[in-house]
């Protein structure tokens, strides 16, 4: 079953996390679920690999984290976007779009 899903492309995970958090704060488990839902289970995320990415983004100052009560009533670490993170998301979206357009063009020409 796992083989039917995409392995996530290198460096894309950061962008996806920023995108998901741009809709509102979330904890690691929530982000993982959201990722599955939004991509309609097409993307395979090794759930553990989410956390180094989250910490990296936090250290870079794009995310900030705080502990607060989650929907189950238990304390969870919630991440949210900083202004710098919001800017970074724009930058990544822009470059992703350019790359995707370029790739599409190349395939269209070759097709």
């Amino acid at each position: 079953m796992p083989s039917s899903r995409f392995p996530i492309p290198q460096g894309t995970l950061d962008m996806l996390i920023l995108r998901i958090l741009s809709l509102g704060p979330g904890h690691g488990y929530g982000i993982a679920q959201r990722l599955q839902q939004v991509s309609r289970d097409a993307i395979q995320v090794n759930q553990g690999s989410l956390y180094p990415a989250l910490h990296r983004l936090e250290e870079k100052g794009w995310l900030r984290a705080e502990w607060r009560e989650s929907e189950t009533g238990r304390e969870a670490k919630f991440y949210s976007l900083t202004p710098a993170g919001r800017k970074q998301l724009e930058v990544e979206k822009e470059s992703w779009n350019r790359l995707a357009t370029a790739v599409r063009l190349i395939f269209a020409e070759g097709g």
């Binding site: 904890h27 090794n46 100052g61 989650s70």
Partner: protein
């Protein structure tokens, strides 16, 4: 800063705990979800863990993120800081030099303080060693300095075994030691047989001196050599034990070698040779024919005891009192006890023995250097404080100037902590650089300090590793504090406010702090300047105390007995040298005396004066034996009566005779004769009722400094040199022109008399004065250097603040000038600030300066210094220099045209 703090273990632990909690939350949620879907608990756990990919691995990956990030930040901060520092070489150099000077100087000085003042003797339990000191009138003749006791008393103290685990005595001396062809003067210690045993020192080779070597006078004398002498002069030859050496040309058998780390009881004057005290008359008499080892009224030894384990110094002091009283009482009934006046006898019987700590041994040099070093250490600390204030001020100014930059970086998304951490990295770099430079400078400064303070060869420049670490630590702390001020400042920066302010320069808060720093600097500077003034003034006073014109005067010493001349031959040589020196062209006068002056020592005698009534001076009077023409050669006027002349010189070949004439100084006349002319009165040597007074006072000479330049109002008596045995002495030669010009001729004259006779201490009298004031001159130079450095530092500080203030107020000044204010009025507007700072600094320092003056007056020199004019002069100099530093930027600001000033906005 947060990145730096991540290194701290408790913060790391907190982060680890949070991570674990975060991951557990994830897994628990997944397990709950799966169980809700009907999976069993065990299966759910397994699946969740599998999907997660291993908790330990994830934790490791997150840790990598942290560390990578931290190293990344640090590297970037360091690079950024280096670039920033390199962009401002002036700032960087000033800060680095200030720190290097502070660290280097304090390391050098504290190392010396440790070496000279604090270190204990390398012997068994030095803390239990005490010195016994006579308090009161001992009615004794003395040889040497410090607290001196007699040999019999030392041996009797040994019987107090309930108080002491042993008692030893020692006297430092200098002998000429010949081993093989080598012959040189070395330091020796004359010691009791108990010496090494009480100290707990074991031999390196052979055996050390013991009680059997010190049983009675005479016998076959033995000696122990120091490890250093053995190694350097004898090549460490193992057959040294049992060999013969010559001590002052008398054969002595070497029985052993002392261990390397033990150099005697004076750690600052290493001993080459130890001799039994009993052998003193035979091997190393303290003066010609000296034989008073068993004399109870001959004080020449330092007595050291080891306290029994449970006896305190106070207990020993108390327990000794009745015993000592009985000993004194017995003394008075012994045959040979001097017949003295009843009140003197009472003073003698009231004497006590004091018990003093002796863990650090006894050093005359330490005594001489203790205060100077403490003064220097104090000055250095002040200077260190001053340079730290400067670095602090510099960093503050830099912080203020960079507020715009910092605010912009924060607006770009850098966290406040990130920016603060970056500033801290910068100041840490400065501290590290300053520390390394200071480390390089410390040995050099140490050497300079020693060469300034003493000419002793026995002190090695020395940098103590612990002290260096301490100084490094202190500098790191200083830099952290210096860095902290701007960091705190930055921490408070409100973004909007900063950006708004950026065009209009920094806040009042930073300026107020910098002004406070400058006020502190000015106060410290005033203190150092006052100190410098007091030292220079004291030095001038000391020079004035010489008492005659020392220019054109040369002196040298001869000791024919040291090359084996007998008494008659030695005397012939002395007379012949004097005759030949007088014939040297350019020499206008020459005289001989028994000693060199200004060496810090003298001999004293009890005297009886027969004027209209019989007067017994209350204390022994210092005396000196001088030849004919002595006072004329010195240029010390004989104010009444006559100088010694041919009548007072014993003819060659005539037997030595008692003194028949004497000259006294003015202080003697003032003190003992109430100012009446003593010429024609008679003196006797001794203070007993039967003392014959058959010495005629033939003249009175003006006071001059004889022992040291500190001696004021000291009664002195002079006897003819040639009456007694006169086999050695010092020659005083007055030369037309520079005394150095006669040195070659003097050497030639001595060589003609006896080519083998060594000329020692050939130097000008000015040199002798310089030697006598060596420490004082060094201190005056050092403190003056401190003062000037301090002045420069605080003027730089003041100039910096004033330039800053002026830049801030340029617009205001422009408006005022445009509205018709005169230029002086505008200048005053700015300078008023400086005047306030100078005033505040002076006001703060004045009480301390006054106290310093009192301290110097009372203790440092033992001569009166007048503090008030010095303080006034120092304040004046400071105010003047500071005003100039303030006027320059003020005048420049007031010189810009109003339109230009307004356009600056």
């Amino acid at each position: 800063m947060s990145k730096l703090l991540n290194l701290l273990p408790w913060i790391r632990r907190r982060k680890e705990r949070e991570l674990e909690r975060e991951l557990r939350y994830h897994l628990d949620r997944r397990v709950d979800e799966l169980r809700a879907a009907g999976v069993s608990e065990a299966d759910a756990r397994r699946r969740a863990a599998h999907e997660f990919g291993g908790v330990a691995q994830v934790q490791e990956a997150v840790r990598d993120v942290w560390i990578h990030r931290w190293l990344d930040d640090l590297g970037r901060d360091v690079r950024y800081a280096i670039r920033g520092l390199a962009r401002r070489p002036g700032f960087t150099a000033t800060a680095l030099l200030s720190l290097a000077l502070g660290i280097g100087a304090s390391t050098a000085i504290l190392s010396q303080v440790d070496q000279l003042l604090l270190r204990r003797l390398p012997v068994h339990e030095p803390g239990r060693l005490v010195q016994l000191a006579w308090v009161g009138n001992s009615l004794s003749a003395t040889w040497g300095g410090g607290h001196l006791l007699s040999y019999p008393l030392c041996r009797e103290l040994e019987t107090r075994a309930e108080l002491f685990d042993g008692v030893l005595c020692r006297a430092p001396t200098t002998v000429s030691l010949s081993t093989g062809s080598e012959r040189q003067p070395v330091r020796a210690e004359l010691v009791s047989g108990s010496y090494f045993e009480v100290l707990g020192v074991a031999p390196e080779l052979g055996r050390l001196l013991d009680r059997s070597d010190d049983r009675e006078p005479g016998g076959q004398p033995v000696a122990v050599l120091s490890h250093a002498y053995w190694q350097s002069r004898l090549g460490g030859a193992p057959d040294v034990v049992g060999s013969r050496v010559l001590v002052d040309d008398r054969p002595v058998t070497v029985v052993g070698i002392a261990p390397a780390r033990f150099v005697g009881l004076d750690p600052l004057a290493p001993t080459a040779l130890w001799l039994p005290a009993m052998a003193t008359p035979q091997v190393a008499p303290l003066e010609r024919g000296w034989d008073r080892v068993l004399d109870r009224r001959a004080a020449w030894l330092h007595v050291i005891a080891r306290l029994a384990p449970d006896v305190s110094m106070e207990e020993a002091r108390r327990a000794l009192r009745p015993w000592f009283r009985a000993t004194l009482d017995a003394d008075t009934r012994r045959p040979g006890f001097p017949a003295v006046a009843p009140d003197e006898r009472r003073a003698f019987l009231a004497s006590t023995l004091d018990v003093l700590p002796a863990a650090r041994g006894m050093s005359s040099l330490r005594g001489a250097l203790e205060r100077p070093l403490l003064v220097v250490a104090g000055g250095t600390l002040l200077l260190l404080l001053l340079s730290s204030l400067n670095v602090g001020g510099l960093l503050l100014a830099r912080g203020a100037a960079r507020r715009g930059e910092l605010a912009t970086r924060m607006a770009m998304g850098a966290s406040r902590r990130r920016v603060a951490g970056q500033l801290l990295v910068e100041s840490s770099l400065l501290a590290l650089g300053g520390g390394v430079l200071g480390l390089l400078a410390a040995p050099v400064l140490s050497r300079v300090l020693l060469s300034l303070l003493t000419w002793s060869d026995d002190l090695r420049p020395h940098v103590d590793l612990r002290t260096l670490l301490l100084a490094l630590l202190a500098s790191a702390l200083a830099a952290a504090l210096c860095g902290l001020a701007p960091v705190l400042h930055t921490g408070r920066v409100s973004l909007i406010a900063s950006l708004r302010e950026q065009s209009r320069s920094a806040t009042r808060g930073g300026v107020a702090l910098r002004k406070a720093l400058v006020v502190g600097q000015l106060a410290l500077t005033l203190l150092l300047l006052t100190g410098a003034g007091l030292f220079v003034q004291s030095l001038a006073r000391l020079h004035a105390n010489v008492g005659f014109d020392g220019r054109g005067l040369a002196l040298f010493s001869l000791d024919p007995a040291s090359i084996g001349h007998d008494q008659a031959r030695a005397e012939r040589a002395m007379r012949e040298v004097l005759r030949r020196v007088r014939e040297i062209p350019g020499v206008t006068g020459a005289a001989v005396a028994n000693t060199t002056m200004l060496t810090g020592g003298w001999s004293t005698r009890r005297l009886t004066i027969q004027a209209d009534e019989r007067i017994v001076p209350d204390r022994p009077v210092p005396y000196m034996r001088v030849g004919a023409d002595f006072f004329r050669t010195l240029g010390a006027p004989v104010v009444a009566g006559r100088d010694f002349d041919a009548r007072d010189v014993r003819a060659p070949g005539e037997a030595p005779r008692p003194w028949r004439s004497a000259i006294v100084n003015e202080s003697f006349v003032r003190r003992y004769l109430g100012g009446r002319s003593p010429v024609g009165h008679r003196l006797g040597v001794g203070a007993q009722p039967g003392t014959a007074t058959d010495i005629e006072i033939v003249g009175v000479v003006r006071d001059f400094s004889r022992r040291s330049l500190r001696d004021e109002d000291v009664p002195q008596v002079f006897f003819p040199y040639w009456d007694h045995d006169s086999g050695d002495g010092a020659f005083y030669v007055r030369v037309r022109g520079a005394p150095e010009s006669a040195f070659a001729a003097i050497r030639a004259a001595v060589a003609q008399v006896d080519p083998a006779l060594p000329v020692s201490s050939l130097r000008t009298y000015a040199d002798q004065v310089d030697r006598a004031t060596w420490t004082e001159r060094a201190l005056a130079r050092l403190v003056t250097a401190f003062g000037v450095t301090a002045l420069l530092l605080s003027i730089v500080g003041l100039y910096g603040v004033m330039s800053f203030v002026v830049t801030q107020r340029r617009r205001e000044l422009g408006v005022r000038l445009a509205l018709g204010a005169t230029r002086p009025a505008a200048v005053w507007l700015v300078v008023r600030d400086a005047v306030l700072m100078i005033g505040a600094g002076t006001a703060i320092a004045l009480p301390a300066a006054w106290a310093l003056g009192r301290l110097v007056e009372a203790q440092l020199y033992g001569i009166r210094a007048v503090a008030a004019p010095t303080i006034a002069a120092a304040s004046g100099a400071l105010a003047l220099a500071a005003l100039v530093a303030a006027l320059v930027p003020a005048w420049r600001a007031a010189s810009t045209s109003p339109t230009e000033a307004l356009r600056l906005e």
